[in-house]
Every structure is written in structure tokens, then in C-alpha cells.
Amino acid sequence: MKRLRNVAALDALRASLEAESRERVEVRVCCGTGCRAAGADEVRQAFVDEIERRGLDATVTTSGCQGLCQRGPLVAVEAKGLFHLGVDPSDVGPIVDLTLDRGQPIDRLLHHTPDGAVVRWRDDLPFYQKQERVILRNCGRIEPTDIRDAIRAGAYAGLAKALDAMSPEDVIAEIAASGLRGRGGAGFPTGRKWEGCRAQPHGPKYVICNGDEGDPGAFMDRSVLEGDPHSVIEGMILAAYAIGDVADGFIYVRAEYPLAVANLTTAIAQAEELGLLGKNILGSGLDFRIAIKKGAGAFVCGESTALMYSIEGSRGMPRQTPPRSVEKGLWARPTVLNNVKTFALVPVILSRGADWFATIGTEGSKGTQVFALTGKIRNTGLVEVPMGITIHELVYEIGGGILDDVPCKAVQIGGPSGGCVPKALFDTPIDFDSLQDVGAMMGSGGLVVMDESDCMVAIARYFLAFTQQESCGKCTPCRVGTYRMLEIMDRIVEGKGEPADLDRLQELGEWIQETALCALGRSAPNPILTTIRHFRDEYEAHVVDKRCPAGVCYSPGRYRIVEAECLLCGLCQDVCEEDAVRESREHYRIDPDLCVGCGKCKAVCPAEAIVLETEELREAREEVTV
């Protein structure tokens, strides 16, 4: 590829790419991590082999994640407008025969709606219809390892426009006018952050992309980095242009994301080759390079100051702010750090205009947000929706409702820093401020749906156990406070809690919120505090009645004797201090009202005939076999 000397050369390249014959039939196999795990690599290879064997005029390309991971591997034949789901290598022959040759779909691989209609194309799927894909605009539509495909789809058009006709101040004004708020969770206005950094008199300055997506249950940043790396690179170049005097850029990527690192490395090399990175970008005089920094496995490095220490090669522990990063960031130089999704939005705001962006979303939260829908929901995967959509719409209309039609209980939004929203509040619009009002937060955008069989106390304990384990240990409120909270939670889920524990949790939680050093510590009590607020009855059942309504925790009354296994030896009856094992003519039975769940009977049973009911139920439901 030839180096592009100026904006006109980029426009010319795009025009020639668009004009390139698009008549050739293209088979696009989704090779996001989800589809790969479902066998997309084999499917892709089968297409390559089959097409070559028959000497057809068709190409096989791959794409990043399209969001509908659960139905993968996904195969789109764009020229024919057909979208096949759940494709197996054995389906490749028929697809080449019927679809490529004659444009006929394979009926059983298309989506069938509950009322029997057949959906032929991606955009017509109910899963995509309510979505508005801005951040994910190119994910699943371009080959992430081919910059030409990205340019054809409009990449670097925002950069061209800015370099051609806008001053750095204009760029910042445009971003500010769009109302863009950082997508990392806290929602700080991006324009203001950039302006603050630009105002710093002394360079060199740095631009950092935070791709350390550590929240369990969130994988949208990974999808953008894997599926559309150029959108992030372009956003960073624009930031460098707007801020001025920028020495270098860094993308900090989680070590668990090898494909994202590989695709980014390719993308950066291709952008350098075209002169979109490096010295004198598009003849504008702007110099900017981007290096990838791989994380080494520390959740706290998602916090901006900790992340900068990690890039410097130190222990990634947060420091007190102020001074803010825009004043003293990486190597104590002025630094702008934004999330992957924020950078991915910047180019499209510039190319389509702040006014357009500001029409999407709500008054205080403009644009769209990506959510990772997981848990007990039919359509798990990545979705992007305008801010202000209600939780109900997200769960029932896009997510397709609850698995097995069990009643839904709550959603957990924002990962370990977020909170639980009960079903009664599902009309809450999803935006930065409304979520805060109900005690949750946007956070990473992970959205876990829970049904009546999930115990909110156990879920809250799970999140707290996570943040406690990941606490860096620098400040006492987080290091000791979360540890103490976890001890109390452990007691409660073991059935040893007492009513005063709830007050202790609340008091301790509020102290931590006020006194911890960094945002991660301050938000660590959120899962506990929101569940106490919205599900106090469940906590009370645990600490007062010593039972778990969902039957998940240490739950008395759920021990059961399996009659078929029972030898009628009576040892369980002998060992039970509560006299809960009842004897009748033919069998023994545990009286749930008397049982305190100590498990002594189970331990003594020579035939392993006594089971904890929950284990059995869960196994039957999950079909987990190893």
C-alpha cells in the first residue's frame, strides 16, 4: 500500500475502493471470540476449501463480533441478503450449492420467529431491530485485519474532515457540543477533559486508550478492539490533534484478550504504512504513534491512575486525585485517558456532526451505549441501544425475555461496581443519571439478568468477593473494609448471620464509599448496598429465619433422602440433634421445618442417599457435564 500524502489522497483511495467491483459474492464468517468457540474457524476453512474445489468466483472474509454470540457461528452472504445462524461445517456444502449458486436460503439455518415467520437478513432480526449501532457500526461488517475494508466503510473520514477544515479548538468544540460523556463508567464529559488537557502549557502530553476491561460479564471493548480497531485508532489520532503537543499514544489491553492484541497490532502497522500514523499524518504536520501495552492481570489497572503506573512499569496502584490526569498523568505529564468506546465514537461524531449525535439519547446522556446481555436471558450477546431505553425494553424486546419463562427478578447493571435493579423498577430509563438515582451505575455496561431461582444475597456476595480479591491493598477502607464486609456476607450465606449484620453492612459500606482512595474502592460496596435497599426481605430471610428463599445458599430444609438409594440403616436419625429425620414404615424422611441444615446426616450416610436439593436441581437445569 502506498503512503497517503494528504487528505485528498485518502478520499481518492476511498472512492476507488468503493468503486471496486462489489459484484463478487462474499461469504462473511463471524470470527469473534464467541463464534470461534462455537467452531467458526472450521466453518471458514470449509468455505475456502469448497469454493476453491468448485472454482467459484466468491471470496470468504471474516468479521469481528456481531453480537448474537449465542446463535453462532454466523454466516452472512451479503450480495444475496441472507444471514445464516448456527452454521456447522457440514452445512457449508449445501450453502455453497443453494445460496451462492442460486441465491436460495437454507431454511433451517435462518431465524424463525415464534409466530412462524422466517427472517432472511440480519437487520430484520428482532434482536437487531431496536438497536442503534453507532459504536459497533463496523463490527461484523468489515474485515478487521484489512484497513482497506475499514476505509471503504468510512474509517478515517472524521480524521480527514478535521485535518482538512477544522482547528484543534474546533474539534474540541464539536465533541463538547455533541454532549459525549466518557463510556468508561463515570460519564465525565469528553470535551471538557480534552479542553483541560489542551489548556496545560507544557508538553509532551499523552493519549491513552483504556482497554483493560476487567469487569466479569462485560466484553464490549474486546469486541470493538477485535472487530473494528481502526475506529479506536482514529479516535486517538483525533484526540492527539485536538490536544496538541502529544508525544505518544498507548492502548492498554487486557492480557486475556489475545485476539484483540493481534488485530490491533495489524491495524496499527497498516495505518503506519498508509501514513495515518507516524510522522506528518496526511501531510498535516501532526506526528503521532501508538504502542500497545499488554496488561498483566490486575482488575484495579482499569482505574486510570493505576493504569498509568502500570504503563510506567510499576505496581498498578491508584493514587489520590487531584492532581487529575489531564494535569499530571503518565510520567507526570498531561494525559488524556478515555475508554475504547469513547474513542470509537469520536470519529463518527466528527464525520456526521455533533448535531446528529445529540439527537440520539436523552437530555443528560447523549448517544448510545453498548450492553453485554448475559444471565438468564434468551438472546445473550452484545447490543447497542440509544441512551434512555428502558430496562424492560432491553430485557424483553431485544433480549427476547427470560430463559424458560421463569419470572424475572432483577438485573445487575455495571458489574462489581454497579448495582441491582429490581423488576418493579424496570421502567427506569438507562442513562447515567437515572441509574444513579436507583443506586446502580452505567459502569462497564455489563447487564446480568436474574430470575426467581437466583439469590440476591449470594449474587451480592459474589461481586464483593471479586472486588475484595482484586483490592490492591493501598488504602485501608478498601483493603480491610471490604474484607470485613465479605466476612459478614459469608456468615449470612452460611446461615450464621444475625439481624444486626444488616446495619453493620450498611454502615461499613457507606464508610467505604466515602473514604476509599479510588473509584473502584468507593464503588465496591454498591452491590451489597443496592441489594439491601431493594431486597431487604431476602436478607432478612437469611438472618432472621435462617433460610434462603431461592434455595441457593446454605439452605436448611433442602436436605432430602433419596429413597431408592436409602439402605434404611437409620444412622442419619441417630446423628440428628434436631430430631428432624422422621421414620415411617417404609422409609426415612427429613422434616424441612425441623432441619437446620447442619449436614451431619449427609456426612454419615453410607449410601450417599442424602442430597442437597439445590445441587441436584441446578445440575438438571444446566446439563453441566465434565
Partner: protein, 168 residues
């Protein structure tokens, strides 16, 4: 575990040091490369790096021990990771973890005595839609492979025993 000679360690560390020479903030990347070379942070290699950077070796251990993905012990030939992210957690990851612990006879973070398997838990592999997931050597298994995990463990063990018997 085979003891490496100091010379051999230094020879293997030298190109890694050369690659990062003269750059700022390279300690973590350097340690990552050392780990890739040796499979873990070998003690003599750490000393070689510390010498070169003119840092106390305690500083290196201070940094390395902060991060979950640095190891100070040799790891198994195969690394089995159970995702315990939220989605996997509520869809049955604890049951999978318990079964793997039983089958391999080790707890997360441990390596089997024959250096064949290391068991780990990971916070999120980003495949929540397929939950619960397990990966082997950084490749996420599909449902079919996951069901055959037990058989795979047995066959790897059998292959290892067979090759042990063949070698003198």
C-alpha cells in the same frame, strides 16, 4: 524440574534485554517476555534482568507479585482455565470447577505433580454468551469439546505415561 545453568539463562535473557533497551517503562513487558521464554519467572533470569536494569531484584518481585499473570513456579504443559465471570457463575461455573478440581486432584492456581496440568480460574474470558466456559491453553472450548473434557484429561495422562515408559 530441570536446573538451568547460569550461562544458559543469561544467554536466553540477553536477546530479551536487547529488544527493550533504552526504552522507558518496559519492566512489565520485559517480565512478560521472560515468562514467555521460560514458562515462568525463573529466579536466575530475574536476577539477570535486575542486574541489567540496575534495580534491586526485590523491586522486580514487588512489581511481578502485584499482577496475577506472573508465575514463580513452573506451570503445567496444559493450562485449564475455568471462567468464573458473572454469567458463567450463575450458569454453573462452580459445579464445573468442583469437577475439574476432583478430576485433576488440584485446586485453582496449582499444578499437577507430573507438570501436565495447571488449573486456574479466570474472571472473564469475554464469551459470556456461551457460559459456562472453559479454556485450554487459551482456546475457549465449544460445548461439544467441553463435554469431552474428562476424556481428554485421561487421554493426555495416558499419552504422558506411555512416553515416560518409552524413554530410558
Amino acid at each position: 524440574m530441570i536446573d538451568l545453568s547460569l550461562d544458559e539463562v543469561r544467554t536466553r535473557v540477553a536477546p530479551i534485554l536487547a529488544r527493550h533497551e533504552g526504552k522507558d517503562g518496559v519492566l512489565i513487558s520485559l517480565l512478560q517476555d521472560v515468562q514467555e521464554e521460560f514458562g515462568f519467572l525463573e529466579e536466575q533470569a530475574m536476577e539477570a534482568v535486575a542486574d541489567d536494569l540496575m534495580l534491586p531484584v526485590s523491586h522486580l518481585y514487588g512489581v511481578a507479585s502485584f499482577y496475577a499473570q506472573f508465575y514463580f513456579e513452573p506451570r503445567g504443559k496444559h493450562v485449564v482455565k475455568v471462567c468464573t465471570g458473572t454469567a458463567c457463575h450463575i450458569r454453573g461455573a462452580p459445579a464445573i470447577q468442583a469437577r475439574l478440581e476432583e478430576r485433576l486432584g488440584i485446586r485453582p492456581g496449582e499444578t499437577t505433580g507430573d507438570l501436565l496440568f495447571t488449573l486456574e480460574t479466570v474472571n472473564c474470558l469475554g464469551c459470556c454468551a456461551l457460559a459456562p466456559v472453559v479454556s485450554i491453553d487459551d482456546r475457549v472450548l465449544n460445548r461439544r469439546e467441553q463435554r469431552k473434557l474428562g476424556a481428554w484429561i485421561d487421554s493426555e495422562r495416558a499419552a504422558e505415561t506411555a512416553s515416560d515408559e518409552r524413554s530410558p
